[in-house]
Amino acid sequence: MNDATPARGMLRLLRAILGRSYPRIIGANRDKSWLFYDTVLPLLGTIAFVYVYKALGAPERFVGYVIMGGATVAFWMNVMWSMAAQFYWDKQGGNLELYMVVPCGIPAILLGMSFGGFVGTVIRAIAIVAIGSLLFDVHYTVSQWPVFLLVFGVAIVGLYGLGVTFASLFLLWGREAWHMANLFMEPVFFLSGFYFPVRALGFWAGMGASLIPLTLALDAMRQLLFPGTHPPFLPLGTELGILGALAISFIVLARFLLRKMEYLARREGRLSLRF
């Protein structure tokens, strides 16, 4: 094998993931406007809620809730705008049909998008938590770091699995991806309890909202960050179990929908082609 021989299998998959994640990672570094748009602006919304809680004389942990919620919003926005709607943009730009004929396949492209999006977003989320916590002097007591990281990791897998699912669905449903993405903004901010404990919604509304992995992830992480003071929606173990089930379900569903989307694209010709 000479050194220019293309790899196949797992090595090609890894190279393709790295290749597709590159524009996302390098893009954040190259265009610094995200510091303002993705950190300062979301922080303003978060700060507004902080002052609401402060005016109401709510316990200090609520300030921490809100900052956690603000950081989590970054992930949801990334999943909606840069995952779910991405195929739409790629179709418009002509990338989608190229992605469909490269040998690594669409799943590798999506994994790369997810990885790149995650890396970029985690930096934004850390920036929001750090600035918000410094501004309002919030202290966290993480009692079980490994469990905290496990909850976060499982939630991220589920969340990006949902993003991949939506990427196919958005393409199948219609052409105006930004309307779809907008549709999933405010309702999810509300239902997932980004700025309040989801328990306040009641059991059944909370369970419905739990279809979005961030709902239970936020509640579980709050239990770990504010042990003993946070009113849990469900026991931590149960939330972790449901999150795991959601992650697996979304990956399976995403795979099914991707195949369906690819098949329809080839049969109908209207999904991948620009008319």
């Binding site: 290749g19 730009g93 002509g94 004929v101 080839r266």
Partner: protein, 335 residues
């Protein structure tokens, strides 16, 4: 025996349509209507036709982006329906007016990204990118963001992208569309160079530029309304044009001189033109023109002009389709 690079048999592709005022019955649009093609490996094959003739649809079927409605298509002996992955390993596609990739990346980064989708190791991939960028004259722009490239530069970059994986079959869908004369000439020059450097590689090129097909292709098929209506080497196709090659000669009035009976003169049509006579001479072979010139000179007739007129692919197209290619395009794009 090597398998053909491209082989289609009675290939049909229909698009389902919604009911509309233009199509009240919702009848499907037939983009390919029984296309049969055979392109051997190592050939540069051109598909010539107006917009909407089915050129792009044929390419989309062959690169596995679209399923055929009926018939069969194989690339390098592999079935486009059942052996999709194997085909994708060995082909590449470049379309005209393509805006693929991401504007925030530089030319070199963009090409590296695509090389990773083929599993190329980074170091040799970057070396190949640099080498190809030098060949197409884009090396100096390698660190420029792709969003800042001109249309011509972008298309050169797209061509490099298509060649990165060293494909066995390269599909070029109107690669010079929208480019200025110089950029289009550069692209054509590089395509010719690539096929020369890589004997055995096959190119399927779609175009609606006659001169492009004539300049680049070993063989050309004319496609119209989803059907291949003629296919041959450009020179052989031109021979099919009614009238073929002829000589156009302008002289003084003939006043009873007959040229029709001269040896080698098959037909001599005359037309009065501002006191002069224009002769359209169809000859059995070019040398027969000497006899015509001698008769005119012996009769003291001055010769004002003499031209050998060869038919063009455009004329072949007009005779086969009944209209010029541009007219067919306009009709397709009309209200």
């Amino acid at each position: 025996m090597t398998v053909p690079a491209i082989e289609t048999k009675e290939l049909v592709r229909e698009y389902r349509m919604k009911r509309s005022p233009q199509n009240p019955s919702g009848a499907p649009v037939v983009a390919l209507d029984g296309v049969t093609l055979d392109v051997p490996q190592g050939e540069m094959f051109g598909l010539l036709g107006p917009n909407g003739a089915g050129k792009t649809t044929l390419i989309k079927v062959l690169v596995t982006l679209l399923l055929p409605t009926a018939g069969a298509a194989r690339v390098l002996g592999l079935d486009v329906v059942g052996q999709v992955q194997q085909i994708r390993e060995r082909i590449s596609m470049v379309s005209g007016g393509e805006h693929s990739g991401y504007g925030i990346l530089t030319v070199r980064e963009q090409l590296w990204m695509f090389s990773q989708f083929y599993g190329l190791p980074s170091k040799p991939a970057l070396a190949r990118i640099d080498e190809l960028l030098k060949v197409v004259g884009l090396y100096e722009e390698r660190n420029r963001r792709t969003s800042a490239l001109s249309t011509g530069m972008r298309q050169k970059m797209n061509l490099v992208r298509g060649l990165l994986s060293d494909p066995e079959v390269l599909f070029l869908d109107e690669p010079t569309v929208g480019l200025d004369v110089t950029a289009a000439r550069d692209i054509r020059a590089y395509i010719k160079e690539w096929i020369r450097m890589k004997p055995g590689r096959t190119i399927l090129l779609t175009t609606h530029y006659m001169h492009e097909a004539e300049e680049l292709c070993d063989r050309v098929a004319i496609i119209h309304k989803g059907r291949i209506i003629a296919g041959d080497a450009p020179a052989a196709l031109k021979l099919r044009a009614t009238g073929g090659t002829y000589f156009l000669l302008t002289t003084e009035t003939l006043d009873g001189i007959s040229l029709a009976g001269l040896p080698g003169v098959q037909r001599a049509d005359t037309r009065a033109l501002d006191g002069r006579m224009e002769l359209r001479l169809h000859l059995a072979e070019d040398g027969a023109i000497a006899g015509v010139v001698k008769v005119l000179a012996d009769s003291n007739r001055r010769i004002f002009s003499l031209q050998k007129i060869e038919p063009t692919l455009e004329e072949v197209f007009v005779q086969l389709v009944g209209q010029r290619l541009e007219e067919a395009d306009e009709r397709k794009a009309g209200p």
